[in-house]
């Protein structure tokens, strides 16, 4: 066993890069900023019947992008995705159903 006293270890297991450079992250951030701008524009521009669906879709898009890229879930082991999305899935299931019993969706 080596007696060297490195301050940092070189083995990262699953945390090594999967091809996302800093430039890649900046690109994602720009896309997120543009989507945000589009979201805010719904306050000023009348989207008509597209208002609600487009906002929901944009929200989901931003959510998934941050989770997949910034939180690296797309490139990491499926186990992490299972743990997180099970929680998210149960959350959506129980709360949407509960709200439905309150006739929230009409």
């Amino acid at each position: 066993m080596s007696t060297a006293t490195e301050q940092n270890t070189t083995t990262h297991g699953d945390s090594h890069e999967h091809g996302m450079s800093d430039a890649g992250y900046i690109k994602i951030a720009i896309i997120l900023a543009l989507i945000t701008a589009l979201e805010v524009s719904t306050y000023y521009i009348d989207f008509g019947p597209l208002f609600l669906p487009s906002l929901i879709i944009m929200m989901i898009a931003k959510f998934v992008m941050v989770v997949s890229y910034f939180m690296h879930l797309k490139f990491d082991s499926r186990i992490f995705a299972f743990l997180f999305y099970t929680g998210l899935g149960l959350c959506l299931f129980v709360y949407l159903w509960a709200l439905a019993t309150f006739k929230f969706f009409g």
Partner: protein, 669 residues
Amino acid sequence: MAIIERPETTPAVPGGPSVPATVTPASSLGALKRPVTTTGWKSWLFTVDHKKIGIIYGVIGMFFLVVGGVEALLIRLQLASAEGKVLNASVYNQMFTMHGTTMVFLFSMPMANAFANYFLPLQLGARDVAFPRMNALAVWLTLTGGIILNLAWFLGGAADGGWFMYAPNSGPIFSPSNGVDFWVIGLQIAGIGSLIGSINLIVTVLNMRAPGLSLMKMPVFSWMMLVVQFLLVFSLPVITVALTLLMFQRGFGATFFDVAQGADPLLWQHLFWIFGHPEVYILVLPAFGIISEVLPTFSRKPLFGYPFVVFSGAAIGLVGFGVWAHHMFASGLGPVSVAVFSIATMAIAIPTGVKIFNWTLTMWGGKIWFATPMKFAIGLVVLFTFGGLSGVTHSVAPSDTQQTDTYYIVAHFHYVLFGGMVFGLFSGLYYWWPKVFGKRLNERLGSWNFWLMFIGMNMTFGPMHILGLQGQPRRMYQWTENRAGEGFFDLGFWNMIASVGSFVLAIGILFFFINMVWTTKKEPKSSLDPWDARTLEWITSNPPKEHNFDRIPTVSHLDEFFHRKYQEDHATESMTPIKTAEEILAEEEANADAHIHLPSPSYWPLVLAVGIGVLGLGVIYGVPTMIIGGSIVLVAIFGWVLEPSVAEDFDYEGTSHDDGPSKELTTHG
């Protein structure tokens, strides 16, 4: 947190002078030394050893079993005769609230954690859990929560809104005493403990299995505990929301459940039961796991349909999130919701039925050994089936509309919880007692324990089916002669039977404690493998050494231990013993690992739990208390993060041999 080596003095050069191992980080900032005692009360308070923590959970659980049991006996004394005078209405409300709360949160969950903490690492071939200090924090938070919950008895009256604490009844107008506040704070704190524990155990099961131990070779107990932890992780936050909203209403005047302001009381009910239904599976699945070990062992047959038992457990867990509103059939949900939840509830009976079939088929054709663990296990199969059948009748919503809030429901859930969960826990106690304490509990006393509990339980809860269907409501502090009826339906008669039964039950449980004391004083030490068991936790000494396994076992079969003892011959369908348990253990000891890494004890989990407790009390008693609590919490968190990962070598004054825990070591303040 990684498992860290306890430093030992080893010669740098063979035969040369001892050189202490360097530890990390370089300095401990003085006050942050880690405690090092391995015996005495300090070794329990600062322990991070999963086995000690398991025993602490067990002591907490059994203590609160007695507390909750006394609360139940008082209720039954009150209801034994017409217009009972034992308890007035207000005290009666507190009694049934605290009985339910205590039995669910302070007895069952700690007992399940006792077994999980002690045996999960052993069944997985690990030396400890993934996060030992978090483990300690979880048990101390559970105790803190339990103390706060029960402090209310002495400080103005306990909570009195029922264990499900429906709002707005539990709000400040209708429940003005502090009792509900203590209930909310106590449960929030215990809930944090459970959440931490559940994350810990999931990571332990995922990541700390012995080589070769794939998930589908894990014992069923480990599987059921894994499902339980997932249920906890995802259901606890929901009750956290409910408790927080109630706390803000009671403490700060928010109007979440104030109907005059437009609130909807069903909000509480949904939030509570979205947690509350998975909670009942959290209560019963550990017992299912335990008897899935006991039944095969005492039938001398492998578990029938292992994959089915595993998958049905997971299915129960998952579908358990989809049936909560069956507790709300009479609340005005509307026909569509009621119908959907009704069907979902019927569906969940299916995986449960699968388990009953598998357990029965495990016993079929086996050589049954009716030792006490087996009696309790068979008791579970029979009694849980009764409870499950009444449960299916509840799933039919129109029928439930008559049954709800009557004693018929009380009968159902006591059959599944007492007949199911408690019998399973006792089966586990008798089964694993020799492993934990080195002696088998006395069989004769065990038989008395079982039969008194079995008879007492049926005497107490059997008549409640009749009482309920004849209309006796829950949570009524008195019943009167002229409502009681006559003949077979003389409810007074059945109430008396139930009350007598509850005392028979209590004596049955008393026999367990008698057995405990008797066994400690009079029983001889047990052999290494008294039941000819099947799973990995039996490849350890009785009790296991501090580091569990001298060598981490390599697993190649389901029921690995059994396969090391017996050679199967499929042609002649026979088994030949090839090794005894003693030989297998000796072989492991002979091949012991040279370096065994154990986590060091720590002060900070206990300190942090105390700090959180004081902080919680501050919500009731005001900002100064909160500041004190908050300061302790901050100090504890910093201490935890910054303490060295091992105790420094000059904290030890032992010799150079690593024989584990027998060294007497110094401590520093």
